[in-house]
Every structure is written in structure tokens, then in C-alpha cells.
Symmetry: C2
Subunit: 353 residues, 2 copies
Amino acid sequence: MTDSLPNDQISCPLPLPHQQVIVMGHGSGGKMTHDLIKKTFYKALGNPILLSKDDAANIGITEGCKLAVSIDSHVVFPLFFPGGDIGRLAVCGTVNDVSMLGAVPMYLTAGFILEEGLEVSILEKVLASMRVAAQEAGVYIVAGDTKVVQKGKADGLYISTCGIGKIPPGIEISGLCAQPGDVVILSGTIGDHGIAVLEARNELGFTSGIKSDVAPLNHLVEAILSTGSTIHVLRDPTRGGLATTLNEIASQSQVCITLNESSIPVTSEVMAVCELLGYDPLYVANEGKIIVILPEQFACDVFTKMQNTPYGERSAIIGRVIDAPKGRVLMKTSLGTTRIVDMLSGEMLPRIC
Amino acid sequence: MTDSLPNDQISCPLPLPHQQVIVMGHGSGGKMTHDLIKKTFYKALGNPILLSKDDAANIGITEGCKLAVSIDSHVVFPLFFPGGDIGRLAVCGTVNDVSMLGAVPMYLTAGFILEEGLEVSILEKVLASMRVAAQEAGVYIVAGDTKVVQKGKADGLYISTCGIGKIPPGIEISGLCAQPGDVVILSGTIGDHGIAVLEARNELGFTSGIKSDVAPLNHLVEAILSTGSTIHVLRDPTRGGLATTLNEIASQSQVCITLNESSIPVTSEVMAVCELLGYDPLYVANEGKIIVILPEQFACDVFTKMQNTPYGERSAIIGRVIDAPKGRVLMKTSLGTTRIVDMLSGEMLPRIC
């Protein structure tokens, strides 16, 4: 199109051959941005709503309902790790947050911050991973945005995803709803994501074989709700780990949560790495696990259903909700003593998601 | 709380006195994250939905309707500029994108990426600015997320905002809808935002007195729609400027848009700076302007209404839609010649929003 450029238009450096890397011009909002979006983003994520190319996506809600809305900015380092990458994480993290209100996630929007010099092939790999994760979850990415910052002002790329889901009638699930007498179920082993990311950073010094558990959990939530059971709380124990998330719930609901140490599933590989490095798996991030808190009468049905559903096979009943001390999480250790499990304080594993 | 920390919990550096700066621990998901959110984010942006503290916000849609959804990542440099800052920009940019489908913006979600070492007082200033802008627009920030990256992996802070609005029944506004015979109205002067940001970067070498036009345009859109006129296209000419946005519309609708150079409002200050630096104001970003494209019969009503509404006082009829050459924008210059106005190619002003 060079021959049709008016003389007064600002000239600019062209991208490197074959558009191999991101340059500042890709963030201009002009032709280069449009080319990148068309050739890279639309190719990977295109669907009729996204392709309408308006400033906002037009989505229909067929009847009056409650919606669950959530946003997450993803800055995981490195971008690729055993079992996943930032793209899968960005889709699953937001799908899961929306699902934790019992909602059926429907639409995602995604904002990308790209660092100048990023290889386009890396972006394409991340987008392909987003597409696969979105397909698995059954959600559409309906709107997006791309910005470029100078080299040294980001770390490859960051992705912010916002999710919208529909809360079925009659569902009232919240961290506020845990009640004394409730049972606490965990959908599988803890610590896998955090340790997999550490390994990708070469911080282990050896190969553990541990993979991130990053997965969309909406179908597992659907399975849980399909039992017709009353569910009080659903929450995914991500950053800060199981300990921090349970503390959040105990505080929100003003109850005490008691855990049995021996019931909490941890693989021997994760346990070995944690012992070696001095980590407590209770504080290590997960990206494919749910905590379910529900009345005892429904626990057996839900537990069985979870064990027979993908991503829930290693579910375990890990504790109980009691009245007091309010806002506390207590753990009966395998030695028979009881200790306070506090919220993570400060930094443990930065940029884990 | 130090006395209640279990022995096996990872110790971490405490924040600097009075939590003056952001440290990596603020991104841990643990106590420090919670403290930051409570003392800084909730204080500035708190509302009942945000304060529910669940993984997602629960919003109600009272009847079946269409929703407009949009996301934008904001990386403007510097964070503060004459007339605005990244906080006001993050709210207005997304409010405006949602409004451009004719929707009434209702809810925002915001994801923050903070650079280690950022002064908390800067974050507080940005959040206060978001609160003011959200109040002016009449929207609620219902969900948020905060991540921290190491020094040198961001540039102070980045904000991704996703907006949700309700499209009133009967409204069908899209970049696809421009038709030959339509009139093109612009809501005011162009180039102010881009030049204000340049000045904040000390790139002018002098003080121009130009302020960014960053503003929420939803009330102006409401005023336009209140005339009962048929509106074909609404679009805000941000990154890439008026020229790029009109090219997008011409391409989407497969029409030609013709402009009269002498009708396009530009302040003498912006014109002087552009002439000095070799910029064309047609390509300089705006953050508080709308392009309205509508059938001629409604143009007078809408134009008058716009001139009598805040943020629309300097509205002008700048051109027409004709049939061909399709996908092109042409401009009749003040010399009487006609030239092609192409889309911005490559980089002109990086990190302008």
C-alpha cells in the first residue's frame, strides 16, 4: 500500500522480515496493528462476535438473569512451563473464577500487553493454546485489545482476561455461605502448578516430572451442580495456595475450618520437592483445583460425582466447618496435634500466575 | 500477627515503613495482597458488589437484553499528563468503547499490573482518579485483580479494564452500518490527547497549555440517542486518530467517507505544535471525541443536541458518506484538491493510551 500513502503521513520503520518480532508500530492502532490482529489474533481466536470488529462486542442474554464477572491479569514467568503456558492459564484462570459462583462461563475478553522484540511465533503459540483451552471450556473470546511497550517495560507478554458467565436460577454460592457442620472437599492434589513453574525457572536444579494442573474447571462445577445438591462455597485455591484460600473463606463466612493433614492429597513428587526447598505445599499455587464446601447430607453424592469426573478423580474430603474460633483455619497434624494454618504472609513464589 | 505464624510458613521481607512502595509480596495473594487491596483499592473504589470478595462479581440483568462488552489494556506513558492520568484514561477508554454500540455502560472490572518499587501514593492517586471518572460516568467497578512484577518488568503500572453495558432495545449501531448519503459529525477538536501526552514526556521543549480531552462520553451518547434519531455508527477516534478510525469504518461498511478539511475542528495550539513537529492532527489520538454517522434527515437535530451537551460543544459536521471508492477516506483540502486519507501505518506515538 506504500504507493497510496499521502505525503504528509508519518513514515515509520517497517517490521523485520516476515514480521518475526513485535515492534512498537504493532501498538500504533494503525495498519501494523490491524495486520497483526488479522493475521495472528483473528486466525487463532476468530468467531463471529469477535470478528464484528466494533469497539465492543455485542452479546445477547436471552432472559433476565444474574451474571458472574471476573478479571485476572496474568504475568506468569516463564511463559511456558510443564503442563501449560500463559495462554492456557489466562483462559482457565478466568473460566474458573467465573465458575466459582456456580456460573456457566460464556464469554471472555482478552487484553494483551506485548513487549517490543517478542517473537511473533511465541505469541502464536500462546494464542493457539488459548484457543484449545477456550474450546475445552466451551467459551468464546469476544473482544480483545493489544498494546505494545518498549523492550524492558514488560516481560514477553502479559494477558488480562475478563470472563462473563450466567448464574443458573436458584444458585447462591459465595465465600460468605460456609456454615458450621459443612464438609470440605478438595478436587485433587495440591502444589503441582507452583512447583512446575519453579522447575521451568530452573530453580529446582533437577527434573521432577511434575506438571502444572492448569485446567478449565467449569465442567467439573457443572457435574457437581448436576447432582442437585446444595453447595455453599466453591473456590479455586490459586495464588497463596489452599491455606490462603481457606483463610479467606473462614474470614468471609466467620467460621472455623478444620483440616486433617493426612487427608490432603499431595503427590510424593511435590512433597519431595517441597521438603527439599523448604516449601509448605499448603501455600503453593494450584490452577486446576476446587474447594467445595457443602452440607454433610450432600457430601457423599458430590464426592462420588467428582471422583468420576475429569479433573476430579483424586478428590478427597479434607475437613469440616465448625463454629469457632471464627475466621481461623486449624489443622490436625499426622502427629495428632492441632496447629493454626495462617494466610500466606508476603512473597513466596512471585509471578506464579 | 507474627506471633501466630506457624513455624513452617515461609518468612518474607516486610514492606518498607508505612507501605510506601510496592514490593513483590504485594503480588503474593497472601496477607500483603489483602492488606493492599483493603487499604488502597477498596478504600478508593469500594461498592457492595466489589466488596463481596468472591472470585467473580455477581451482577443482575433484570430482563433479556443485549450486552456490549469491551476490554482495553492501558499502558500510557507517562502515568500523569495535562488533563488526565492512566486512571481516568482506563475508566473513560472502556466506558467509551461500550458506549459506541449505543449501550449504557454499567459495570467495569479492572486488572492492575504493578511494578515493584511503585510508590503506593501514586497508586492511590490513580485509584482516586478512577473513582472520580467512574462516578462521572455512573458506572461501578465490580471486580479487580492485582499482580506485581519485578522492577524493570513494567513501567509503574498498567491497567486493563473490561466494561459491560446494556444495549437499549431497538438500537443497532455498528461500524458496519454507514450508508451512502449519511452525514459525518465529529464531537469536537482533534489531537488534544496525543499532544498533551507528548508534552508530559517533555518532547515539545516548551509548554503548550494543551490538555488531554480524556472524558467519559456515555452521557453525550445518551443525549444523541434521546433525540430518537436513527444512528448508524458511533466510534471514538483514539489510537491512530480520526484518519485511522474513519478508514476502519469505511472498510467495515464498504463505503467511501469524504471530509472537508476546513470543517475539522483543531485548536490553533494543537495545529501549531503539529506543524512544528511534523505531525498530522488527523493521526493524533483523542480520548474524548465521538464520530457520529447518521442519515441526513436526523443530522440537524443530533448536531444541535451535541452542541448543547457537555463534551460536544465544539461539534462539527465534517463530511459525508458516498458509495465509492469503497473502503476509502477522501479529503477535500482547503486548496480545493482531493487527497486520499490513509490509515496510520506503523508507529507514530507509542503508548499514547
